[in-house]
């Protein structure tokens, strides 16, 4: 029965071709450092799923942000678990993405023909840091408020356009409900959209070009 269903789908969707192209690729002999990209992808998926669940109860308004998180932590079954995974996963993701970049750099894997993979990777690293920056404000506690005050102030040290950047990040001169709402929108819509698109391009190139092995003496 199951094989009949599979055959029916296979005839119309060509699933085995997807499988062989994505998973039956020839891979050079590599080591554990080469798993960091997959680990980053896994963490992104974890962050996405737990983030969707947090959005069920979280409210991005100064009146309710803090209370809604207290409710997630104490009022909802397993809320502590889902927020805990999102919280620690965020730090882990920054670490893994950064380590992945270091591996790529030191093994020279960014060289021809993989320059574009590297560039999309740079965008992904910056977007990941952006997720960390915007997500940090959302609990709307003292630490979040003052960290974002300082962070947006640092952005303001850019010559000439600094004050404009600070105001654009805050949505006004002060850190306010407007700031919270836009950080939330960037955190759950803008940056995830960028990251998804870039991951798609990144993985397409990995499949198309194959991965670079460990460089030897001749490289």
């Amino acid at each position: 029965m199951a094989s009949k269903v599979y055959d029916w789908l296979e005839e119309r969707l060509g699933l085995s071709a997807i499988y062989s192209v994505t998973l039956d690729r020839k891979v050079p002999k590599v080591n554990w450092w080469f798993t960091l990209g997959s680990a980053s992808l896994f963490l992104f998926i974890i962050q996405g799923v737990t983030g969707v669940f947090l959005a069920v109860y979280y409210v991005p308004s100064p009146d309710h942000a803090y209370d809604s998180i207290q409710y997630i932590m104490n009022g909802v079954a397993f809320g502590w678990l889902i927020r805990g995974i999102h919280h620690w996963g965020a730090s882990l993701m920054v670490i893994f993405v950064f380590a992945h970049m270091l591996r790529t750099f030191f093994f020279g894997a960014y060289k021809f023909p993989r320059e574009l993979t590297w560039i999309t990777g740079v965008v992904l690293l910056l977007a990941t840091l952006g997720m960390g920056f915007t997500g940090y404000l959302l609990p709307w506690n003292q630490r979040a408020y003052w960290a974002t005050t300082v962070g947006t102030e640092i952005a303001g040290t850019v010559p000439l356009i600094g004050p404009f950047i600070t105001a654009a990040l805050r949505g006004g001169t002060d850190l306010s409900g407007v700031t919270l709402a836009r950080f939330f929108a960037v955190h759950i819509w803008f940056l995830p959209a960028v990251i998804l698109g870039m991951i798609g391009a990144h993985i397409y190139m990995i499949i198309r070009l194959g991965i670079a092995g460990i460089p030897d003496k001749d490289d």
Partner: protein
């Protein structure tokens, strides 16, 4: 390949992968489903508490004419206090008998109004009609109007409000 009576390595791996996958899936699914449905479960557990609400001296209410009394109740839903307003029609049939009807229509929860001219409760939404005794006189309602228990203490009328 000849069919061996024992499990082949391939079959064994398939079974183990299926079993471990099911285990991991349920370990993930249990908290996920619990997280989504827990407010509903809390509401079911916490419901059914009742309180007696004073609605004023009995002599405030005229005999034979249903009179609306409105009150509000505050409840904490998640991270927010929600204030709901309720209406109750106090109907004194005679000196000794008093009935309190919820003004929530038993059809789809619109609020009914007492119509003096027609001597009926009318619902503005789907033209439900109830008699002065709360019985269905016409329209779509599935059951008579809901009632609150009443009691009189020291001349003050109380209704028994059950937390929804």
């Amino acid at each position: 390949m000849a069919k061996s009576p024992h499990l082949s390595r391939n079959e064994f791996v398939k079974i183990v992968v299926g079993a471990v996958g099911t285990l991991i899936g349920s370990v993930i699914a249990f908290p996920a489903v619990g997280y989504i449905v827990s407010p509903a479960l809390a509401a079911l557990r916490g419901g059914g508490k009742d309180t007696w609400i004073p609605v004023g001296p009995l002599e405030n209410y005229p005999l034979g004419v249903p009179t609306l009394f409105s009150f509000t109740r505050t409840k904490i839903n998640g991270w927010e206090k929600t204030t709901n307003s309720y209406g109750v029609y106090i109907y004194r049939k005679n000196e000794t008998e008093t009935v309190a009807f919820s003004n929530i229509c038993t059809h789809l929860s619109c609020r009914v109004n007492w119509n003096e001219e027609r001597q009926q409760y009318l619902c503005p939404c789907h033209n439900a009609q109830f008699t002065v005794d709360g019985l269905v006189a016409g329209g779509p309602p599935p059951r008579p109007m809901d009632q609150y228990l009443t009691k009189v203490e020291d001349g003050t009328l109380f209704i028994n409000f059950v937390e929804g």
